[in-house]
């Protein structure tokens, strides 16, 4: 059925893990969507994102990122940088949480760069904030998923991570 979301992978975190990987992006769909919701951490830290190749996170410094950082309590800021090793969704405390949606394009195309657009909102423990932007992996290669990790040596306590294909 046109316009449907087809669930491909789902990871529900109920015991602490340092990373979560969603895989299964291939040639079946042109565009994939990732939803992460109610993600909480066991210590103050920030959720980060990388792409995977053959199920392994690509940690090379080839991610170009640009975003708006919205803050309910103060003015917004711009963030932009080339050659990063990941996207960073900003720091939250143990009473905070993340919710967000990511669209994945060109992941299965070996001759073009993979890129994402994303929008996420988080409560950092004190204020509500959000990030909206995009990230390009400037290597022409096939990517097959996304990898969530933390900046520090801490854990994701709970959360739901789901990968969908957007049915043509």
């Amino acid at each position: 059925m046109a316009g449907s979301l087809i669930k491909i992978d789902e990871e529900i975190v109920t015991s602490a893990v340092a990373s979560v990987t969603l895989t299964g992006i291939n040639s079946t769909y042109d565009v994939y969507m990732v939803r992460f919701s109610d993600v909480t951490l066991n210590a103050t830290d920030s959720l980060q994102l990388q792409f995977t190749t053959s199920g392994t996170p690509d940690t090379s410094a080839n991610y170009d990122l640009a975003l708006k950082f919205f803050k309910a309590n103060t003015t917004f800021t711009n963030e932009a940088a080339p050659n990063l090793t990941q996207a960073d969704f900003s720091s939250i405390t143990t009473s905070g949480f993340y919710n967000g949606v990511i669209y994945c394009f060109n992941f299965n195309n070996a001759s073009e760069y993979s890129f994402i657009t994303f929008e996420e909102v988080h409560f950092d423990g004190t204020n509500t904030e959000g990030k909206q932007g995009g990230m390009v992996h400037t290597v022409a290669q096939v990517c097959d998923g996304v990898h969530f990790k933390l900046n520090g040596a801490n854990n994701i306590s709970s959360g739901q991570f789901v990968l969908y294909g957007l049915n043509k």
Binding site: V17, V20, T59, T74, E79, K149, N151, G152, A153
Partner: protein, 99 residues
């Protein structure tokens, strides 16, 4: 902070946090050696990045909006004060650029 200092701190943090787990294909698995090595490398890079460039983000947040800064400059002009200049100097002093 040197790369060696960052590596030492990252290694210690990951060692202290062991065991770490990953969730993939609905399985919760302990990190293998390669995962731990990569976690240390990632943490080291993050520490160096925060040290070298963290002040930029902190300054951006502390400066306040352009509107507020223009308002400060307007009232400085009217009253002959240096509120805006003092504010910017304070933000820079509070968030120094690493040597």
């Amino acid at each position: 902070m040197t790369e060696q200092q960052a590596l030492a701190q990252a290694t210690q943090e990951i060692e202290d946090a062991k065991p770490l787990f990953k969730q993939v294909n609905n399985e919760r698995l302990e990190f293998n050696d390669a995962d731990y090595t990569q976690a240390i490398e990632d943490r080291k890079n993050s520490l160096l990045n925060d040290y070298n460039f963290g002040y930029i983000q902190k300054r951006q947040e502390a400066y306040g909006s352009v509107q507020d800064q223009l308002d400060m400059q307007y009232w400085d002009n009217v009253n002959g004060t240096t509120t805006w200049q003092d504010h910017v100097a304070q933000v820079k002093a509070d968030n120094p650029k690493p040597q």
